[in-house]
Amino acid sequence: MSPVVHATGVRMSYGDTQVLNGVDFAVAPGEVSCVIGPSGSGKSTFLRCVNGLEPVLGGSLRVLGEEVGYSLREGRYRPWSPKEFASFRRRIGMVFQRFNLFAHQSALENVACAPVHVLGLPAEQARRTAMDHLERVGLAEHAHKRPHQLSGGQQQRVAIARALAMSPELMLFDEPTSALDPELVDEVLEVMRGLAADGMTMVVVTHEIAFAREVGDRLTFFADGVVVESGPPAELVANPGHERTRAFLSSVLSQREKAG
């Protein structure tokens, strides 16, 4: 099977700051691919490129069989229109660190919003499906609440349900638990475990090494805009191949070991 995400030499910069310096990265269908790396190493930026939220400047980034942002016609690449971007993003679910629930809508409305306004489903049907998705993340009884009435963990679960409601072929998670109080992390990870078990293809940027080891099929270490190394999680954590990886892993784990 051809990979769901296939990046070769992806480069990207914000103005003069080179952020991605040639990223090579691939995700096979059904794979759970975890990404770690120090702050500023370009993990979020890469996810945003995969989703077409930021334009790639060089290299090739093929996602779900398309070169992100361009269609090949008559031997030339033509940039996408906003509509083409929209229908591409429809196929990908994205969960943000800060949840980004629509602040003026209830949990149910958040989940039903895109099916109604993007897919054009009838409101009634969309609400029924939305309810099913809320049930799946264990929030059926909070359906009527506004985001600010929910805890962080609940908000993040609504955000996941909202993405699932579009039946995505690929889910991207950008540090989904790092804005949560420690006690609330588990309820979100639990939902993600369920997704992985159902065979969803996922790319997860996370600092939760335990989760990566338990659920991830592959762990990739980013630094300075490139992939430093990549491999099965348990192996990478136990025997990092590079000094940078070792240093990073030990700094992330140190606090926690002391606590244990």
Partner: protein, 302 residues
């Protein structure tokens, strides 16, 4: 404040005295005295004929004027708001020509006095006796007598509405920009087009920022409508002044007009605060406010 006494070392109760804030009380007393005295002096003033104030308060022409004032204010505000949203979106557009034109519009209409704009529209026939809309290089089209199209009412709407739109455009732009960027990203990530994101996600949230200044603009519009006297409009202020021109009761009629304006302002302020509560910051909180906000909200709903 503290509701129970302290217990001393040997178990005895030590009472808590309530403090009187003498400074506060004094300030309050002085303030009330001054206001009261001002009111008293106005009321007993022999040169003010309060009976006349009472007589004219519900005079037909005053009531007609109030109606005109409200009608024009509401319509001009609605027109201004619709146009203002359009201008704000143009102004934020990536197309430099369109955003430049919106900037020009805003600057032009903020820069010229409303009075001038009213006179200009009303006397458009002076510059263009006929309004012609035709397909270029043909003889097919429509033609109107400018004076028939440009009635006092149309001129008032255009003058006030276009002007207000320039102010609203800035307000709406600020409102749109104040919506958290994350909302836009989430909308895009779900596959919305830019236009859909604006309509479904951004504008509803921008309301929170837009409502309070809109209320203020409406309140000041209530009084700005008095300028329609230059287009032969008969709003509250114009009618009041026409009455005092005939009967010389200038102060009395100004008081009548002011009382009505104050009443309208009070009602508008009340409606504004209702709207703010409905669409305001509490309803569109971006960060989780903790148990407290939620509790307040559910209390308000109960």
């Amino acid at each position: 404040m503290r509701t129970e006494p302290f217990t001393g070392p040997s178990g005895e109760r030590i009472p808590v005295v309530r403090t009187r804030r003498w400074g506060r009380l004094a300030a309050a007393a002085v303030a009330i005295l001054v206001v009261g005295w001002l009111v008293y002096v106005m009321v007993v003033n022999p040169r003010l004929h309060w009976d006349k104030v009472a007589e004219y308060l519900f005079h037909d022409r005053i009531l007609d004027g109030i109606w005109v004032t409200i009608e024009i204010s509401v319509l001009a505000t609605v027109l201004g708001l619709l146009l203002g949203v359009g201008m704000a979106i143009l102004r934020l557009s990536h197309n430099p020509v369109l955003s430049g034109l919106a900037t020009l519009y805003i600057w032009f209409f903020r820069g010229t006095p409303v009075l001038v704009q009213l006179i200009f529209w009303y006397n458009l026939a002076f510059l263009f006796p006929e309004l012609v809309l035709k397909i270029p290089f043909t003889m097919i089209g429509v033609k109107w007598d400018t004076n028939e199209v440009m009635t006092g009412f149309t001129a008032a709407m255009l003058g006030l509405g276009l002007n207000l739109a320039a102010y609203f455009a800035e307000t709406v732009r600020a409102g749109i920009q104040a919506v958290d960027k994350g909302q836009t990203e989430a909308a895009y990530a779900l596959g919305m087009t830019p236009a859909k994101r604006m309509r479904v996600i951004v504008l509803p949230q921008a309301l929170r920022i837009i409502i309070p200044p809109t209320g203020n603009e409406f309140i000041s519009m209530l009084k700005t409508t008095s300028l329609v006297y230059v287009v032969a409009g008969h709003d509250l202020m114009t009618n009041a002044s026409q009455i005092y021109k005939a009967n010389n009761l200038i102060m009395e009629l100004l008081i009548v007009a002011s009382l009505w304006y104050m009443l309208m302002t009070a009602i508008a302020t009340f409606l504004q605060s209702r709207l703010e509560r409905r669409f305001g910051s509490d309803a569109v909180r971006l960060v989780r406010g903790g148990g407290r906000g939620a509790r307040l909200l559910s209390k308000a709903a109960a």
